[in-house]
């Protein structure tokens, strides 16, 4: 059963609800023993980078997550803050990230166009597919998702960017490196579009 990691941050029940609507059961768990047995993992998250990493470490989850993602290589999906935690670090805080997809989360800043582009990037934005993946199977010609974030990930490897969006320039909307994936947007809040992506993840 897909396991949604509960580390104290994020809207876990919405993810579970959407998966259930798609016909997939998921378990929400904070227990390393349960996560150890998961065939697939979702790392949700809303809030601040340091809070996220500290919570993961305080609950003794880093070791099992590293094992599952890096050694066992189960399909792993980080959502929103969850995607930012996949990187090495964030301008938002001081904690070290999981470091699974090298890069850094940086704050939005628009020195040339301060008045109109608001921070956070909040709302529905369309995405462009940058590489191929099972995660983007059956994508419609136009795909839009709900974003809400003040920091965005800059990947060291451009090839790790799976989907991009435009907000004062291109930003990483989704990343992928092998079995490890992340979406900056919230598929569980993106109705029919999010369902296509989560269905792909669940079927992997």
């Amino acid at each position: 059963m897909i396991t949604i990691v509960d580390y104290g941050l994020g809207n876990l029940s919405s993810i579970k609800n959407m998966l259930r609507r798609l016909g997939f059961e998921a378990a929400i768990s904070a227990d390393p023993a349960v996560i150890e047995r998961a065939p697939k993992i979702i790392l949700p998250g809303v809030g601040a980078f340091d809070n996220g990493m500290r919570n993961i470490r305080a609950r003794g989850l880093e070791a099992v997550l590293n094992r599952k993602a890096l050694e066992e290589r189960v399909p792993t999906l980080g959502i929103c803050l969850g995607m930012q935690l996949l990187s090495d670090s964030s301008e938002e805080g001081r904690e070290r990230g999981l470091g699974w997809i090298h890069g850094r989360a940086v704050r939005f800043s628009f020195p040339e166009a301060p008045a109109r582009l608001k921070i956070p990037h909040m709302g529905w934005n369309s995405v462009s597919v940058r590489s191929s993946s099972l995660l983007v199977k059956d994508f419609l010609p136009e795909m839009r998702f709900y974003f809400v974030h003040s920091y965005h990930v800059v990947c060291d490897e451009p090839g790790d960017v799976l989907l991009s969006a435009e907000y004062g320039g291109p930003i990483a909307a989704a990343v992928q490196k092998g079995n490890i994936m992340g979406t900056q947007f919230h598929p569980e809040k993106s109705h029919k579009f999010g369902m296509i992506l989560l269905k792909n993840f669940a079927e992997m």
């Binding site: 956070p120 709302g123 529905w124 709900y146 109705h191």
Partner: protein, 253 residues
Amino acid sequence: MLKARVMPCLLLRNEGLVKTVKFKDFTYVGDPINAVRIYNDMEVDELVFLDILASAEGREPPYKLIEEIAGECFMPLSYGGGVRSVDEMRRLFSIGVEKVLLNTAAYENPDLVAEGAALFGCQAIVASIDAKRGLFGKYEAVVRDGRARTGLDPVEYAKEMERRGAGEILITSIDRDGTWEGYDLDLTRRVADAVSVPVIASGGAGSVEDIGKVVKEGHASAAAIGSMAVFQAKGLGVLIKFPKQADLARVIG
């Protein structure tokens, strides 16, 4: 590019949906769960629920109902009404709410916005400001569902809320509420130009053209619709509805 959001803003009164005119004259509109299912099928951008009695009655948010609503909602859900503490916020987030709106509580407890933003992220905290035009046409922020005046200029108050950590501002014109006469563009623009966070305009939407105007001329990042989302037309019966995406694209694209 980022689209301007259009969201039904639904009022809860004793767990039923109602609609007001200038914050008075309640008309019963129907069952909230039923409405959510319909909006879900219509793929609206976002939903806002405001419990308009919770603050006045000193009640907690109606958690059970909100949890049911959240269970049906596959787009972002915001809730406001009687939220007074970070514990209440935490509970709302855990049951599936994306953002909480703070109105009276933000005024009565100035630290609440900052505490909420620090714990949950500023994008989860919306400062909801109700504005009324007083003597000499001057705007004033009011609280307690329009019953208590603050003496504050809504623009200055919005800036203060942003400074305290609100990630978004909802600015509602009480005078336009339920009138179908269009948004108060002047009020909206002054607030939107004064802050760097997104501003949701509310009060008075009567047509898709009104939505276009408040985005283009009012500089709103989002438009909340009330009467337009629950009545067939001005003066006519209840109908849960939402503008067609193609029509919205025409005016805000």
